[in-house]
């Protein structure tokens, strides 16, 4: 029983990291109607930035984290401006291929700078002892991941539903033309969405690399794909869906690692996705697709 609770808590922790990444996927999809497959690699860039900053003598941990998040945010906005904005009216396929291209570009730049070998990442909370609650020992990384993710999700929900910029995002995601008629600047709203999504990826990179203390140019790709699955699982475009989908996915992955097979856990994750899509094609919280009359 104790070990089950421990697997579950670790699953929730991994899942909340997936949820943070999935939020970036789902928000960008909701607003720009594109799948940003370079999103996972933003995590990798964030990881390497924090890694590099922490390995310098003078840079404290907190500042390294802040620098990592800022670099991710700026990178996300720049990628959107340079690669996606010129394709605003192009076919979705062209945008998708461009996103894959950006993903390879980021990976290969990282390969040139850091090489292909994994390097060990020092956890940002390495000197904090794990906590034992009722016989279950939980690492500080696990606790931090859950707490940080929950705080971010609450703030994000508040931001989207209660602020003017958040309302503008909802309006743009529903109807760009009508949003413009309200006086909403669609381009800056899309930029803001990429900025928020990439900042979340920056936070996720710190949590992920601290929990699984390694970093390589491919660090972002598997979590990126898992988070994409989580976003689809929850209903792509839906913010609560990404949160629920991410956490469920992390729990399923960790429990199948523990009780079924650690080699099969990824396969099981994708199997669950297939089953969900067969039963409910729009995902858990997905909207019904209305036929236009």
């Amino acid at each position: 029983m104790m070990s089950f609770i421990s697997y579950l808590v670790n699953g929730i922790s991994l899942g909340s990291i997936y949820a943070l990444i999935a939020l970036g996927y789902t928000m960008v999809y909701g607003i720009a109607k594109m799948l940003n497959f370079a999103h996972g690699d933003i995590i990798m860039v964030g990881g390497f930035t924090v890694f590099t900053a922490m390995s310098t003598e003078w840079c404290p941990v907190w500042l390294s984290v802040v620098i990592g998040i800022i670099v991710c945010t700026v990178l996300g906005v720049v990628v959107e401006k340079v690669a996606y904005k010129p394709l605003r009216n192009a076919s979705p396929l062209a945008v998708l291929i461009t996103a894959i291209g950006v993903s390879y570009l980021l990976q290969n730049v990282a390969l040139i700078i850091f090489g292909s070998a994994s390097q060990s990442f020092t956890s940002v909370v390495k000197n904090v002892a794990p906590v034992t609650i009722g016989g279950v020992t939980i690492s500080m990384e696990t606790i931090i991941s859950i707490v940080v993710s929950v705080i971010i999700m609450i703030c994000l929900t508040f931001f989207i539903n209660k602020t003017k910029a958040g309302k503008a995002m909802l309006a743009v995601s529903e109807d760009k033309g009508a949003a413009q008629l309200m006086g909403i600047n669609v381009n800056s709203t899309i930029s803001l969405t990429f900025a928020i999504g990439s900042a979340l990826a920056g936070v996720a990179s710190v949590l992920l690399c601290s929990s699984y203390p390694q970093i390589s140019p491919y660090t972002g790709s598997m979590p990126g794909i898992k988070a994409f699955v989580a976003a689809v699982f929850g209903g792509i475009g839906s913010i609560p869906g990404a949160m629920i989908g991410g956490i469920l996915l992390g729990v399923i992955e960790n429990l199948s690692k523990a009780y079924i097979s650690s080699q099969l856990s990824d396969a099981i994750v994708f199997l669950v996705l297939i089953v969900v899509l067969i039963v409910k094609p729009t995902g858990i919280m997905g909207k019904k697709i209305n036929e236009k009359v």
Binding site: E174, Q180, L181, G183, I184
Partner: protein, 236 residues
């Protein structure tokens, strides 16, 4: 100097010349109707004025400012609102949220609150349904919401695209009454309608469009008695 002045406007969709050199003007306080069949270019003209579709050549001047070089989202704060064809309210947001998005560019909270009261006075049904999700309103109520949302920006001119489309006859009369009363309270109206009879009955002047060109223009009452208008648009 007229409030809105369109001079030799040309609009293309790719290689298709949708608007072939149109000129017209709207004076302050008027109701101007653009009438014509499907595909004549009425909606394209409104979209070009409010910046959703780029103009190929020609000019659109609004209170002295050239609109063809102004980005769409900057036009609302200049005093122009647009009630688009098919209403295009934000289906997943509440009535109240839709109305507040109409006031997106305004800063003064007290003034916004005043306008909201005016809109609720004009459309009591919107007040009753202020927390309802907009997509669940009836067609007529959605049209009222689209109008209310446009009025929330406190416009000096309002462009209305097919406000009577798809509505029951009862709602059609109500909507045209509202257009008249909005105009009486000082807002200029540029109205695009397929329901030519209703449009001409409320308008001061009208322009008749055929495949991207103005073929006829003049006083609305005179046009109503014009033989070719009668035959082509009034079904007499």
């Amino acid at each position: 100097m007229s409030m809105l002045h369109i001079e030799n406007l040309q609009v293309y969709y790719g290689a298709i010349n949708a608007i072939k050199g149109i000129s017209f003007e709207v004076e302050q306080g008027e109701i101007i109707a653009l009438i014509g069949a499907n595909g004549a270019g009425k909606t394209t003209i409104l979209h070009t004025i409010s910046g959703l579709v780029p103009a190929k050549s020609g000019s659109i001047t609004f209170n002295g400012t050239e609109l063809t070089k102004t980005p769409a989202h900057k036009i609302v704060s200049m005093g122009m609102a647009h009630v688009p064809e098919g209403r295009r309210i934000f289906q997943e947001l509440t009535v109240y949220e839709n109305l507040m998005l109409g006031a997106f560019t305004r800063k003064d909270k007290a003034e916004i609150e005043n306008t909201l009261e005016e809109v609720f006075k004009r459309f009591p049904r919107l007040e009753e349904r202020r927390t309802q999700i907009a997509g669940t309103l009836s067609g007529g109520e959605q049209q009222m919401l689209a109008m209310g949302r446009a009025l929330m920006s406190h416009p000096s001119i309002i462009l209305m695209d097919e406000p009577s489309m798809g509505l029951s006859p009862l709602y059609v009369s109500e909507i045209f009454d509202i257009i008249q009363s909005v105009n009486e309270s000082g807002t200029t109206v540029l109205l695009v309608e397929q329901n030519a009879k209703k449009a001409l009955s409320v308008a001061n002047r009208a322009y008749v469009l055929e495949t991207g060109k103005i073929v006829l223009s003049g006083d609305a009452h005179e046009l109503m008695n014009n033989d070719s208008v009668k035959k082509a648009y009034l079904g007499e």
